[in-house]
Amino acid sequence: MPRTPGADLPDHPDWLWNSPEPKHSYDVVIVGGGGHGLATAYYLAVNHGITNMAVLESGWLAGGNMARNTTIIRSNYLWDESAGLYEHAMKLWEGLEDELDYPLLFSQRGVLNLAHSLQDVRDSKRRVGANRLNGIDAEWLDADQVAEICPILNTSEDLRYPVMGATWQPRAGIAKHDHVAWGFARALDRMGVDLVQNCQVTGFDRIGDRITGVRTTRGDIAAGKVALAAAGSTSVLTDELGLALPIQSHPLQALVSELLEPVHPTVVMSNAVHVYVSQAHKGELVLGAGIDAYNSYGQRGAFHTIERELTAAVELFPMFSRAHVLRTWAGVVDVTPDASAIMGLTPFENLYVNCGWGTGGFKATPGVGWCYAHTIAHDEPHPLNAPFNLDRFATGALVDEHGAAGVAH
């Protein structure tokens, strides 16, 4: 029977994961069953042999930001610290489909980060230069070259802020977020790791400054180590301990169109006019923009953010004029002062924190899993996440990704 090309996704396997009751005790408990929590558990099991472990998810598995992001994967960050971590993630992405034996639909279709001002151009060239010296594929393209890669992009002078060029990372791309989460989950299930859903962590058990377990809506669970991977909800957890973190939770909205015949060959991001867009595997346009300005845990944002984003989209892609918005939604992202994550040890023994990924968490998923697992297993940061410690806010050694690169997403 004829099928519409591309309008369908590959089938999922016959078995994914169990939903067990939590046990009374584990060697490691991971709080948060999103992409980062699952990937961390995966590498703890695979790289460090830890399987007496539970991943606790307050809702449905991978139903937070993992289910809500626009799935862009890239590693073209400015600073060495970021580049190291994201590029490590990128290399893992490149083998992840085989490793998990799951169709992740990882498509390396490249990403264009547009420049719309002379300063954008300077910043872009600076970032391309840094990327190349860090071994990351990157090129600076002028407007004509941009048009060759993405012919539907309006590179004319008519724009209020014309496209003056772009950075190009060919190895960047997109993946299917659910498949990534489910791939990790299935692998964890096979290794005997408990994936416990509808289990909200409400507090911690501790002896002095040593964490000994978590309290949950499904009972107390003793744990040798507790690792937080709860993104926008991290503050709610750490407030229980009086552990202050320099993060603020904000709504981040995204939207999709109906399924459309393929027109958009790559991923385009524009910080200056605030939109990023790709065309996913079934043909839907997936768009995102910047965060809503205020703190929120509401998983909903304001409509003017969407309108602004679509204005930018139609300006850059006049062809999208009569595409339709089918659905909008929001996640809750935790943002740090320097737009870089926090990953490492805490003042509490046996408690580890991974948060502050803002809008960039998905692309880092396997890299986070790898490094965070190392941190937990060795009680010491992996060299790649060592710079992302909490101390940097006291010393001032920030990894300031928004000031310099303007590519926070």
């Binding site: 519409t4 994914l16 300031d400």
Partner: protein, 946 residues
């Protein structure tokens, strides 16, 4: 054109206005008032496409926005993807084609115009069916400002699709009367064709008005702030899941009624109605009365209601209770339905009979359209009574009435609507009584029998039982998801893609929850449903972009002299929202040669630049000096009236974020300047500290950027030019020293003249009221004509300041740079107890000796300009990555004065490396550059006095 499917009379179509259209290459005719779907049905076209995964033929299944099947691509008048035939109003020249699931975007620019409008009202009524009209009427009569919006081309909602009588007359009369009264009420805005698709915080609702293809604006987005909202959004009929439930000719029962009554169209000639509730009986009776043969009403319930049994018996319609349709036959269209008794337990159903039919009406009950209620953060609950989700807890100021609240009789819809309308108006302070409502004969509605999966069917049939027609998702898909361990409706939705199509699960959402519940063996309430998200119905991107396109994307700010610049045909640089001349090419010149010429003119003769865009803030009050001491790194309280000082601003983290000059104009008054792009941010930041941290300081701030037009006159001959147009200012260096200002007359206009130089040359900055900017500019240009006075743009300004080592905040800094990093410790006071940023200078990271410093760079004299952004490395040969980087080039130009390229850079331990050679990584080459002091030209500052 009253063919075999169009009734000879009846319906609300305009039979005097035939409309010609094309679908899938065939020419057809319909009438004004038809939808594409009704016109196709009238032409006997039921199949309108094939399905997305399996390519199965699919037909028109509904008469409204819930349509899962009839997706069309509009080809003309202009391509638009993925509309439902049931909501496309027929118009002349329409060309459409069927879609298998992926739409197609136009390659030509969209010629249509889109607009936006903001509106405020006391009561917004969404939906103009019986409940909505009654609500609007009650509210309107109180004098409240009312907006009533409905997606449809005409008001009436469900009444349009029935032959119901109100006050013993056709319902249409009541609709027309109420609509006319609403239109005649001055405070009421009546919006047909307007879909309210989003409900946001504080009763902010968003709607799109479809104004038609021939109107000035094709679509208009309404932003409505309503004090109270009445949601009368109706309900959607739910299909049934059974084998072969996707064949063309299968249609929601209520929709078939709509085709008969509203469009005068028979959707078939011989029908079987399969139902779990009463509403299919009404369809069977109405269709029978319109001439359709009803083969049977198949009801899963053991007993049909007396009322409907009687009506069927009157007409000789066969009722098969305790029976179900368990299969269909037909190729492109249903030709028969297999009927079986509902088996008890697990026994397989036996096919009792097969009935020939070309139309299979289905009804599984009705889903209240709770979308907007839910978007407004209202909660929903599963009602066992009506087998659907109904509103539970509402947010304040939002009322849901009528079918949207699970009320299914017209009389109750009218009554509750009227009451809600008056309650809403009362809540906004109006004296409102419920408007009287007409009498309605409609009887009680018996609840449906919950029917999600027919019992006893073999697993083989799962693949033919469609749960989401739009996604081609079947019971087999749901069973597979459940079998894979999934139990969350969210997971199963993602696994099966149910509810993700253009209709966002309007017909399939709760149906899938029911199927999941059956397969998991739990209650439907336990399974719940996925979140209702905006928009309620698809909205075109362009409608939301509205008019904010092109030049209106962001405000364009221009200076008083902008027309003069335009006349020079100079390219402009966007600086924030400002348009600034970039350079002024003479015929045949490229940018490099123009800039070299402009630089040369300033260094040797005289140039002029429009610097009006620099932000200007008037700081007044007895504590102005104290305030500025706190916000600048250097001391401003010691500045004497008449003098000017350069100042740096840091955030509390110690990083430079803006700079400019500070001019003391009075004991208690300063005029400060900011960067062009940073003005608004600086003002807000100053207000923040002033209002929230130091409210005791008596200081007022006012933006005066646009009060002044400012002209920089620079170069050794600038004094000569200025002298020709001023007589009351002593321009001698000792009378009018560097970094001072004076008031006087320039070109006959009152002016404030400053001795400020951003180029290192003798320079004057002439401020005149904005209104006189162009006149004074012209006078200066004229006065300098014999000296070849040269207008210059931002690029030349950048080169000249770089030759002097003056940084540009935002170009030579990036939010990680302190004044000390810039080598500007001289601008950081050591005498003040505190200022913003001071504490941060002593943090562990900011006291590091190997921080990046702003230094100069000299590439080989005969080499090209090294691109800005170039990374610097220590070694002349590149090792394998990652390669340690020392910093990057922030500014890079060719100097006319030095006749060589030069650059500024931020380099690790840069000041300790002066004299060293490092390498710029350009493309795949390494270019040697020598690190120098950042000042390249006139280090001694001899030129500033001319």
């Amino acid at each position: 054109m009253t063919g075999e499917y169009r009734l000879a009379e009846g319906g609300r179509i305009n039979r005097d206005r035939p409309v010609r259209f094309r679908f899938d290459g065939h020419e057809y005719e319909g009438f004004d008032g038809d939808t594409l779907a009704s016109a196709l049905l009238a032409n006997g076209v039921h199949q309108v496409g094939t399905s997305i995964r399996y390519g199965r033929p699919r037909g028109i299944a509904s008469a409204g926005p819930e349509e899962p099947n009839a997706l069309v691509q509009i080809e003309e008048p202009f391509p638009e993807p993925m509309l439902t035939a049931t909501t496309v109003a027929l118009h002349d020249g329409l060309v459409a084609s069927s879609l298998p699931g992926q739409g197609r975007l136009a390659t030509d620019p969209d010629p249509a115009r889109y607009d936006a409008i903001n509106a405020h009202c006391d009561v917004l009524v969404v939906g103009a069916g019986p409940a909505g009209l009654a609500a609007a009427l009650s509210a309107a009569r109180s004098g409240a400002r009312v907006i009533i919006a409905d997606s449809d081309t005409e008001f009436g909602g469900s009444l349009l699709g029935s032959d119901e009588e109100l006050d013993h007359a056709p319902a249409g009369r009541w609709i027309d009367r109420v609509t006319a009264e609403l239109r005649a009420t001055p405070e009421v805005t009546v919006l047909p064709r307007t879909t309210v698709f989003g409900c946001y915080d504080d009763n902010y609702l968003v709607a799109v008005e479809h104004r038609g293809e021939d109107t000035f604006t094709r679509q208009r987005t309404w932003h409505v702030r309503a004090r109270e909202v009445v949601l009368a959004t109706g309900s959607h009929e739910r299909p049934l899941v059974f084998p072969g439930n996707d064949r063309p000719g299968t249609m929601l029962a209520g929709s078939a009624r709509t085709y008969v009554h509203r469009y005068g169209v028979l959707p078939g000639h011989r029908a079987v109605a399969f139902t779990t509730n009463d509403s299919a009986y009404a369809a069977a009776v109405d269709l029978h009365d319109a001439g359709v043969e009803i083969a049977a009403v198949v009801d899963v319930r053991p007993v049909a209601t007396t009322l409907w049994t009687a009506r069927c018996v009157e007409r000789g319609i066969q009722i098969l209770t305790n029976c179900a349709v368990t299969g269909t036959s037909g190729t492109d269209r249903v030709s028969g339905a297999q009927i079986s008794p509902v088996p008890s337990g697990d026994s397989a159903p036996t096919v009792a009979s097969e009935l020939d039919c070309d139309l299979l009406l289905v009804s599984g009950g009705w889903n209240p359209a709770v979308h907007l209620h839910s978007q407004a953060r209202g909660t929903v609950r599963y009602s066992e009574e009506i087998c659907a989700l109904v509103p539970d807890r509402a947010t304040r100021g939002v009322r849901t009435v009528g079918a949207a609240a699970g009320t299914f009789t017209t009389g109750e819809c009218l009554r509750t609507g009227s009451e809600a309308g008056s309650a809403a108006a009362r809540a906004t302070g109006f004296d409102a009584d419920p408007a009287e409502v007409p009498s309605s004969p409609s009887g009680p509605v018996t609840p449906p029998q919950p029917t999600w999966l027919l019992p006893g069917l073999s697993a083989d049939s799962d693949h033919d039982q469609f749960v989401d027609l739009a996604r081609d998702a079947t019971v087999a898909d749901v069973r597979k998801a459940v079998g894979a361990g999934m139990s969350s409706v969210e997971h199963i939705k993602r696994f099966t893609t149910i509810g993700t199509a253009h209709d966002q699960g309007k017909t399939s959402g709760l149906l899938s929850s029911g199927v999941i519940a059956e397969l998991l063996g739990v209650e439907v309430a336990q399974v719940g449903a996925t979140t209702f998200r905006p928009p309620y119905a698809p909205v075109a991107f362009a409608a939301l972009a509205g008019r904010d396109r092109g030049d209106l994307y962001d405000p364009i700010r221009v200076t008083a002299m902008h027309d003069w610049h335009l006349a020079q045909q100079c390219p402009f640089e966007n600086v924030g929202q400002w348009k600034r001349p970039w350079y002024y090419p003479r015929p045949g010149e490229d940018m490099d040669s123009a800039v070299l010429r402009e630089c040369h003119a300033v260094r040797t003769g005289v140039g002029m630049q429009d610097v009006s865009t620099l932000g200007k803030i008037d700081v007044q009050g007895p504590d102005a000096a104290e305030f500025l001491d706190l916000v600048y790194t250097n001391k401003m309280s010691t500045l004497k009236v008449g003098r000017i000082r350069y100042g740096l601003m840091c955030h509390a983290d110690g990083m430079v974020f803006d700079d400019g000059t500070v001019m003391r104009t009075d004991e208690h008054r300063y005029l400060i300047s900011t960067t062009s792009g940073g003005a608004a941010g600086v003002l807000e930041w100053l207000e923040d500290w002033l209002q929230t941290e130091w409210p005791h300081l008596r200081v007022h701030l006012t933006s005066v950027t646009e009060h002044w037009a400012t002209i920089a006159l620079a170069g050794p001959r600038s004094r000569d030019v200025l002298a020709r147009v001023t007589s009351d200012i002593d321009l001698a260096a000792d009378a009018f020293p560097f970094m001072s200002w004076t008031d006087g007359t320039v070109a006959g206009r009152a002016a404030r003249v400053c001795r400020i130089s951003f180029s290192g040359e003798l320079a004057f900055e002439i401020n005149v009221p904005w209104w006189h900017g162009r006149e004074v500019w012209d006078a200066l240009y004229e006065a300098g004509s014999d000296l070849d006075i040269t207008p210059y743009g931002t690029e030349t300004m950048h080169v000249l300041r770089a030759e002097k080592g003056f940084p540009i905040v935002g170009q030579d800094t990036d939010g990680t740079v302190t004044p000390h990093d810039l080598g500007m410790s001289w601008a950081v006071s050591k005498k003040k107890d505190d200022f913003l940023g001071m504490r941060s200078f002593s943090r562990a990271d900011t006291v590091r000796s190997d921080r990046k410093h702003l230094v100069g760079l000299l590439p080989p004299a005969d080499s090209a300009v090294v691109p800005e952004g170039t990374q610097l490395v220590e070694l002349s040969e590149l090792p394998e990555p990652p390669v340690p980087m020392l910093g990057h080039i922030t500014s890079s130009y060719r100097s006319a004065a030095l006749d060589r390229p030069f650059a500024l850079a931020l380099v690790k331990s840069g000041r300790d490396r002066i004299g060293q050679t490092v390498y710029g990584h350009v493309g795949d080459r390494l270019v040697p550059v020598e690190i120098t002091e950042p000042v390249f030209y006139d280090k001694e500052g001899n030129r500033r006095d001319g």
